[in-house]
């Protein structure tokens, strides 16, 4: 079922690395303008619908991310997000890859875990045990330009750089690559693997080195969701980034009736067209990019 969720909300995602656009809304009975946020994805209202018993749902529409502008990013872009009851991560990954095949043709599908990808594409045998120095040596070995502003011992950040600078450009070449089992610290609202608590049941799908989709086997528990939100807020505070109001309606919904067992995925539609049409940048496949809005 297609659902229509609000773009404008009094709540925003606390995710440390997502910046919601905000606007001032005049409401009757309020002396001052109220702050409302434009959604970065329809995830929270969709989860409220799932809690209320909607069953499988999808959203196709605009989302907004402040500050994101590059050949691969637009502040306003089109997202296809959908949820499947009873699907585990692997089933969701396959379905996401099949949807991509509908547009890009019958490319072969490859599934690889985060840890395997570091081994195969960056020669780092066990990334979970590797040190910051191992990651820096890897960047040097692959002739990655010097990095400015990262502490020498910040392993998580050096690991991220190995992923974005060394591994991602090698993913999805003439194929659809599903990268799964991200580290638990990147779980967002994905479940943690019961087999390995270092890993989250989160995946991303890559074609030609470009991330097309991001999905989770969804966290169901309201209490843990609340803890993850609090951690994000603390991280914002530690980094001096503005705080946001947490979506209490989502948290209440998850507490009253926990989320049914499901998986969900969000797919960047403009990026899919970008690849299908062989464009050089996202704005070429959009009738009105922000530069032209």
């Amino acid at each position: 079922m297609e659902v229509d969720t609000p773009m404008l909300s009094q709540y925003a995602t606390p995710d440390r690395h997502l910046d919601s656009l905000k606007t001032a809304v005049r409401l009757p009975g309020q002396a001052t303008m109220q702050t409302y946020y434009l959604h970065t994805s329809p995830e929270y209202p969709m989860k409220r619908l799932l809690c209320a018993g909607s069953g499988d749902i999808f959203y196709l529409g605009k989302v907004f991310r402040n500050g994101d502008l590059s050949p691969r990013h637009q502040v306003e872009f089109t997202m296809l997000e959908w949820y499947r009851l009873g699907f585990n991560m692997v089933e969701m990954m396959q379905e996401a890859a099949h949807v991509i095949q509908v547009v890009l043709g019958d490319l072969p599908i490859e599934a690889i875990t985060y840890q395997q990808a570091f081994q195969k594409y960056a020669n780092l045998a066990n990334i979970h045990n590797a040190t910051a120095a191992d990651c820096r040596a890897c960047l040097r070995a692959f002739n990655i330009p010097e990095v400015v502003g990262v502490e020498a011992d910040d392993k998580a950040l050096w690991e991220q750089l190995v992923l974005t600078e060394v591994i991602e450009p090698q993913l999805g070449l003439e194929r659809i690559t599903c990268l799964s089992h991200y580290p638990a610290r990147d779980a967002a609202l994905a479940q943690i693997s019961t087999e390995n608590p270092q890993e989250a049941l989160r995946f991303e799908v890559f074609v030609q080195g470009m991330e097309l989709a991001n999905g989770y086997q969804e966290l169901q528990d309201g209490e843990i969701t609340h803890q993850r939100f609090q951690q994000s807020l603390q991280q914002r505070q530690a980094d001096g980034v503005e705080s946001v109001p947490l979506d209490e309606r989502l948290l209440a919904g998850l507490t009253e009736a926990s989320l049914p067992a499901c998986s969900g995925v969000a797919l960047g539609v403009d990026r899919l067209f970008h690849l299908a049409l062989g464009a050089n940048q996202l704005s070429e496949v959009m009738p009105f990019s922000i530069e032209n809005a």
Partner: protein, 188 residues
């Protein structure tokens, strides 16, 4: 000196890197969505002309460089320095050989050039896109030849050597493209 954050990075922004002025030629945001954002930056060292690449953690700051492009008239060279003048203020600037190394052979007295000043001193010079120069030396060519059927080297009055059509003779004036170093046409 003012500092500039990565959020203000854009093409053409001038900043100091290792004490030398640089200009951004490409700035791309790497925004993984789930992690720290970075700026992948290509920049030209304005003194050496070399293009370098670095990845900055978003939010990092660099020192702004007092670099500006200004239109100046080329006056003359005394062999050690190349002298330029602002035709409005009559202020004079002297450029070292390093600053004019690549373009010396296109500098013609009285021509307007774009001179890049760093803290008030010329560090690079861009001559006009097209210049008119006299041929001082070339082999005699054959009559009836037209442009496009081969050519021959010709030395111009500034010392520049370009390929010209066979019909060009010593003493004639030719128009050259200073960026490609190619002959364009005979000057009238």
């Amino acid at each position: 000196m003012a500092s500039v954050s990565t959020s203000e990075f854009k093409n053409g922004l001038k900043f100091l890197m290792d004490g030398q002025p640089c200009s951004i030629v490409d700035n791309q945001i790497v925004q993984p969505g789930k992690g720290q954002a970075f700026n992948r930056v290509k920049f030209r060292n304005l003194i050496t002309g070399r293009v370098l690449e670095k990845t900055f953690k978003s939010g990092e700051k660099v020192e702004a460089a007092d670099v500006m492009d200004t239109d100046l008239q080329y006056l003359y060279t005394d062999g050690e320095f190349w002298h330029f003048m602002d035709p409005a203020s009559f202020d004079q600037y002297q450029a070292s050989e390093a600053a004019v190394a690549d373009v010396q052979k296109w500098l013609i007295e009285q021509d307007m050039c774009t001179v890049t000043l760093w803290n008030g001193d010329p560090i690079s010079v861009a001559p006009p896109k097209q210049v008119v120069l006299e041929v001082t030396e070339t082999d005699p060519g054959l009559k009836g030849d037209t442009a496009g059927t081969g050519g021959k080297p010709a030395t111009l009055s500034t010392g520049a050597v370009v390929q010209v059509p066979l019909f060009i003779q010593i003493g004639e004036k030719v128009i050259c493209n200073t960026q490609t170093g190619e002959y364009i046409s005979r000057a009238k």
